[in-house]
Amino acid sequence: MGNSQLQIGMANIAFRSLLVGLGIVVPLLLMANRAKRMRRIVAALIAVCSLAAAMAGATALFQHTAIRIELSVVTPFPFVLTLDQLSAFFLLLIGSAATPVAIFSASYFELHYSDQLRNWIWGFVSLFLLSMIVVVTASTIFAFLFAWELMTLVSAGLVLMEGDSPERSHNVFIYLLMMHAGAAAVAASFFLFLPFSHTQDFEGIRFSLATVPLGTRTAIFVLAFAGFGVKAGIIPLHLWLPRAHPIAPSPVSALMSGIMLKTAVYGLVRFAFDFLGGGPWWSGYVVLLIAAVTALLGILYAIAEHDLKRLLAYSSVENIGIIFLGLGTSLIFAAHHNFVGAALALTAALMHAFNHALFKSLLFLGAGAVSHATHTLDLNQLGGLQRRMPATGLAMLVGCCSIAGLPLFNGFISEWLTFRSFVAGSTVLNTKTQVILPLMVGILAMIGGLAAACFVKVFGVGFLGRPRSAGAEHAEEAPFAMRASLSLLAAACVCVGIFPGILLRPLGLVIGGLIPAAGLPADIVSFTRIIPWTAAIVLGIAGMAVLLSGGKRIARTWACGLPGLTSRMQYSSTGFSKPIRFVFARVYRPERKVERLPADQPYFPVSVSYSSVRTTSWERAIYRPFVDLFISIAYQLRRLQTGNIQVYLLYIFLALVCLLTFVRFER
């Protein structure tokens, strides 16, 4: 690609200017002026910065020398940003997803927030983007952890800005708690490197791998997996996801689900492949198992949901599971020194991360447009939106097709790569792997089928048929900025779906830097060239059929002789998912209550009410005992506080005595 020096220079300038823009210019502008025009400028600036991030990422991907920015002069610890190929890929991801979100927010924030909040929200969004960019480009421990914590705090702040009722505060509290626990694990895994590398710099860590003993390496992997796993939302550490994502403003949910989860994937890839060069031999199987459980349970919980944003949150859990399936497979291949397979699986995982960023942002932004138009997010209250909001509906249709993994859309490509890496597992010489990996094809197949069913429900119940409430009936098309951003994302999904080479070639360079292998197998590359032809066939035949069919006459649907069909006669979201919920009843275990009033006349009821409450079984089985244990320990520790001053003096005295004995025995 062209003049290498020029490219590096451009990427350098773009990167530095976006840092300055997001970090310094935007807050200053927001503090200076509260006018609407200023906010428009800020929105445009943020969008431009995101675009710059995408461009910087794209150009830096093709370079072999990394771009380095030293900021240590203003910080107590070393603070260096490096743009190597992996970071560049994730920078491209962030930029591609954030630009449409910024455009969307330009009109969303204007319409939804009070005057004093608007400036704050823009400031926080800018800071949020900046922190995520720093996370994927940091190359010292201090920079990484600083940006990691900043991400959590800023997103929590954004969620609280939407409202701080007790329930929301409780959810944000759980979010902060779990994120801090995860950050502690990540920090611990970093610090385990320090005695061997003597430097905070990632380069130093990479070089010191040979001196790290096996036990420490295992501990580092486990801690990193746990820490990044909490952030990514794998089961059983996912509890914060369905609590935090739905209550955030829609653009922020898009950023959190689309981008923030991917920073955790970045962290794990950086640790497992870059620092550790592949985990211990059992690591791949553990990751694979957890990923399979995560994906399956995620989609099962998603199908049972009728709140649109909670459904999308659980669907994010499922997609993270699919990404981790690819990661686990790659680790298994690496442990058996099958580098071609490892490269294939890692390509699948990273490509799914990128695709998910695109279509999940699309879906969350669409949910935002829907909630703006209808003031509700309950699928059971929506319906008939495709006729009232055609552009939004079409974009949501593309999003639903992509996430269902249908061919000609981008979700299919990464799922297909994951499938192919499973099938390639049959060439490994270990009998366990030869059986387990192909069997994973079956599990991913069921997950894909359930995902398709779930999003048929989302689009079918939410957008088609008759509107089920007044809000849905009076919905109006979304404003231009929202429509533009949705169309951008939809176009991106379709482009990557039909021409996957756009993404696969750069991804090959990234993987090549991590795993020393020859590129992708030949049949995979030739396959990607066939997809445009299939698109031509499908769209050609469909187009011919549409063109050749004559006019259509509007006639009412037959209502079996009744006066007419009402919207209540349609299938609701709960009804649609009933067969699947029935078959997988062991997973759900809801608490059901049916109440008939009046109670003493069962055959002439005035009203019958049915309620079914689902608490995910993980909360009951794993978290409650833990929480109860901690609370009981805390109660026991309370006994130390007697309130008696002589007892406190006794404690001080005992501490002195202990110290003296310790010093004495250390001699």
Binding site: V435, L464, P579
Partner: protein, 313 residues
Amino acid sequence: MKLVINLLQALMLILGAPLVRGVISRVKARLQRRRGASIWRPYSDLFKLLRKEDLVPPTSSVVFRIAPALLLGATACVAAFVPVVWPIGLLASRGDLFLLVYFLAFGRFFLSLGAFDGGSAFGGMGASREALVSSLAETPFLLALTAIAILASHADISGMIGWTLQQSFFNISTVHILAFTSLAMVVLAETGRMPIDNPTTHLELTMIHEAMVLEYSGPSLALIEAASAVKLHAMLALLIGLFMPWGMASSYSGGELGLAFIFYAAKVAGLIFVLALIESGVAKLRMYLVPDFLGVASALSALAVIFTMLVKR
């Protein structure tokens, strides 16, 4: 020349599909001691529908109108993947089994959406049941195909068929028998035949596929009927190609191709007869027994995959 033959194969699958349907109905009728309609009846049905008027519900959107076309497009693409008389299909040498299965899912997705857009209760019911059946049928479908792909060391359909052609017919392989049984059960589920779904029922509460197309009429209905016929034919051709491909031409001389066509016709006739027997002999399964049926198929295909490891060792 190759392109022409491949195109002819795909056209054979598409245009011959209503004939397959007609023959199945006729054989079923004869088995039930009726005279049955002519085997060319589905063609006249399609032409009749194409001449009629297309009615759309007032609450429907653009999805209702384009769903049948997209369904036909996707199914026709699937037909391009499956070879008939010549081991290389139109796209079969590059497109692999996952693309085939997921194009079927593409068609099904849009059909379900079209069902919702009708605004009646039956559409949602059909879509809901179809969602259950298809999500459970994906596992045995992909696992059975994977087992054959592992044995053949090729994931594209042509590669798998070419490998099977090289095996001797009398080498009954455990993997193949298990995969065949499982795939046969999946074909019954995917194409909506007994015992999963009754294609000739007129009681809405017993429908799965038919419930989704209740609101369609005229040319749209013709497209949907054609698509489901093509799907059945393509699946039968896939079964034949993967498990009994002997007789396919190995060079593109007219004589060999003609002979291969006769062989193919005989095999399809055999499969049709077995299918008609099953349809006439078994009662439709209750909805919540279908997961058991597909669970058996999943276990069989999982066992097939496990046996590939035992065979390769």
